[in-house]
């Protein structure tokens, strides 16, 4: 034995024991493809003369990058996606207003389970590690994947992070995830699977686990996975008819690197322009004026994140200069936020609540920034142009920092926010 979760999942997928470095063709149980790539995929398939897909019943189309078409070109693209879904007999097609963010709702719907192997067209498909599923991004080769059922993968090494402690008040799991981007060495993380385990995992919600699994890809991780536990069983049991198998790493599994990460030592973190791994303690950038703010994305558009934001925005209003866009990750999250009164808080504060999906983070197709503006948000990346203009400064932070900053008009440490007026 002595295998990591990753080695076990890939061994199960190909039907024999695999070792780190082996080149294999694992067949994923599910393939997700988003609305901005479906037409490109179809074009490539036509070029290669492919008219039938390998197991179309395992392919999921998600309209999350641009659910609300705000241009004739976008409406045409959506029409094309519908035609392509019909042409290839894609049963799992989540069109406008149906699922929401494709890195979140398949978990809510019980389509993703511990021990599964999944591939998808997007680097943040790693989110599925939240429930112990191994997910790899496949980009250009996604046409080959849907045509033939697999693409080559080399069995990756694993870096183990033993999570301990408890987040201090005013600090969110996104702050912890951003801090990891600062403390981990990209040379060590590159092409590995980051495996989260340890004493503190059982205290972390499924929402928090999504966030932890979302960010390591920014420094080159192939994927991320949380060792599944009883909380995953409790979450998934009402959502799936399938048996839930809690696959864990063996005690003597071999890791490339192993560290302990103490949540108690975390403070609010901010990624300054121009990259998501350019992470600093909030004190370095506190006081920077902002114009634009965003709460949402596959990293931080979960119900936990909206609750953090609502707690801060309750009985407060936005700074007059700031506009704040809030995007619940999925239809289900939107509904729960509505039932728990968060949406009312956001509206009263002066925020704009958008259709579930990627929101502003997908290239700023809704609520973009203008040249010269400064934005702080919970999106995944802050490369120039990510939220619209190439000439805007983009900061990334957790929902508490973003909400506090939106009310104050400057980057603000939420721990030092006074009482509402």
């Amino acid at each position: 034995m002595n295998q990591t979760i990753t080695e076990k999942i890939l061994s199960n997928s190909v039907g024999h024991r695999v070792n780190v470095g082996d080149l294999i063709f694992p067949i994923p149980e599910l393939v997700t493809i988003h609305d901005w790539y479906v037409a490109n995929m179809d074009k490539a398939l036509e070029e290669f003369g492919v008219s039938q897909l390998f197991m179309p019943e395992n392919i999921v189309f998600v309209t999350d990058h641009e659910p609300v078409a705000v241009s004739p070109a976008a409406a045409e693209r959506q029409k094309k996606v519908r035609e392509i879904a019909s042409k290839y007999k894609i049963e799992h097609f989540f069109d406008v207003g149906r699922g929401g963010h494709g890195h979140i709702f398949p978990v809510e719907l019980g389509m993703i389970r511990p021990g599964m192997f999944v591939e998808g067209y997007d680097t943040h498909v790693t989110n599925f590690g939240a429930v112990g599923c191994l997910a790899f991004a496949v980009l250009t080769e996604v046409s080959e994947l849907v045509a033939l059922g697999s693409v080559w993968q080399i069995v990756p090494e694993t870096v183990r992070i033993d999570v301990t402690g408890k987040l201090p008040k005013g600090v969110t799991i996104r702050d912890a995830a951003q801090k990891l981007l600062r403390v981990l060495d990209p040379e060590v993380i590159d092409d590995t699977v980051v495996e989260f385990g340890g004493d503190a995992i059982s205290s972390l919600s499924i929402d928090a686990r999504f966030t932890l699994c979302n960010t390591p890809t920014e420094i080159g991780a192939r994927s991320s996975i949380v060792e599944p536990d009883q909380r995953v069983v409790d979450y998934l049991a009402p959502r799936t008819g399938h048996r839930i198998n809690l696959l864990k790493s063996d005690e003597r599994a071999k890791y490339k690197h192993r560290i302990t990460f103490n949540l108690s030592d975390c403070e609010p973190q901010v990624a300054a322009p121009p990259r998501p791994d350019n992470v600093v303690e909030i004190s370095v950038v506190a006081g920077t004026p902002i114009d634009h703010a965003y709460i949402g994305s596959c990293a931080s558009g979960l119900l936990d994140d909206l609750e953090v934001a609502a707690n801060i925005l309750n009985k407060r209003t936005l700074h007059p200069r700031v506009r704040l866009f809030i995007t619940p990750g999925t239809q289900e999250i939107f509904q729960q936020a509505l039932e728990r009164g968060f949406i009312e808080v956001f509206i009263k504060a002066g925020a704009v609540v958008t259709q579930p999906g990627c929101g502003v983070c997908a290239g700023g197709r809704v609520g973009p920034v203008a040249p010269g503006e400064i934005s702080i948000g919970t999106g995944t990346r802050n490369d120039p142009g990510r939220l619209g203009s190439m000439d805007a400064d983009l900061y990334i932070a957790g929902p508490s920092v973003v909400a506090a900053s939106a009310t104050m008009g400057v980057i603000t440490d939420p721990r030092f926010l006074g009482d509402p007026k």
Binding site: Q52, A147, L148
Partner: protein, 177 residues
Amino acid sequence: MKANFNEIFEGQAFVLGNNVANDGDLMALSFALARETDPDVLKAHIFAGIDRSLALRIKPNDIVIAGKRFGHGNPHIQGFLGLRGAGIGLLTESIPSSSYRLAINAGVPILPSCPNICSLAQTGDHLRVDFNTGEIKNLTTGAKARHAPPPAHVQKIIASGGWHQMFRIRLEASGLG
């Protein structure tokens, strides 16, 4: 495009430093945004962000030697298609996995993990590299090194000319093509 991969390259070394970025250093982002994918167009623009004269001086069969994290950044394939068009071989001390996959898909002969390779040669030295066995010889100084070549299947992809060609081969083998 016809495969032009010859396992043994003999040519001039061009030694670059660490952290040559994909967007900007290796290839201007504008080519990615324009979705330009013709290696013959892109070869004229390689390394324009470092030194515009490099694209003119680098000839087919030359060897580009790079330090750590070659081609880091967003996974755009245009720079690697440019290297393919230029007909060069690539030795890197390290390369992020996403960029390594781009090099393979573009059909660029590569030895991805060659620690201290930058100290083996200077720009202008004459080199012989066998991308099949991983053997490297500096014909100017006599220095030698050997580093692990990519797995056999990856070598087949590169030898076939890259992802497009290998996808077609797999399709034909499956009876779908």
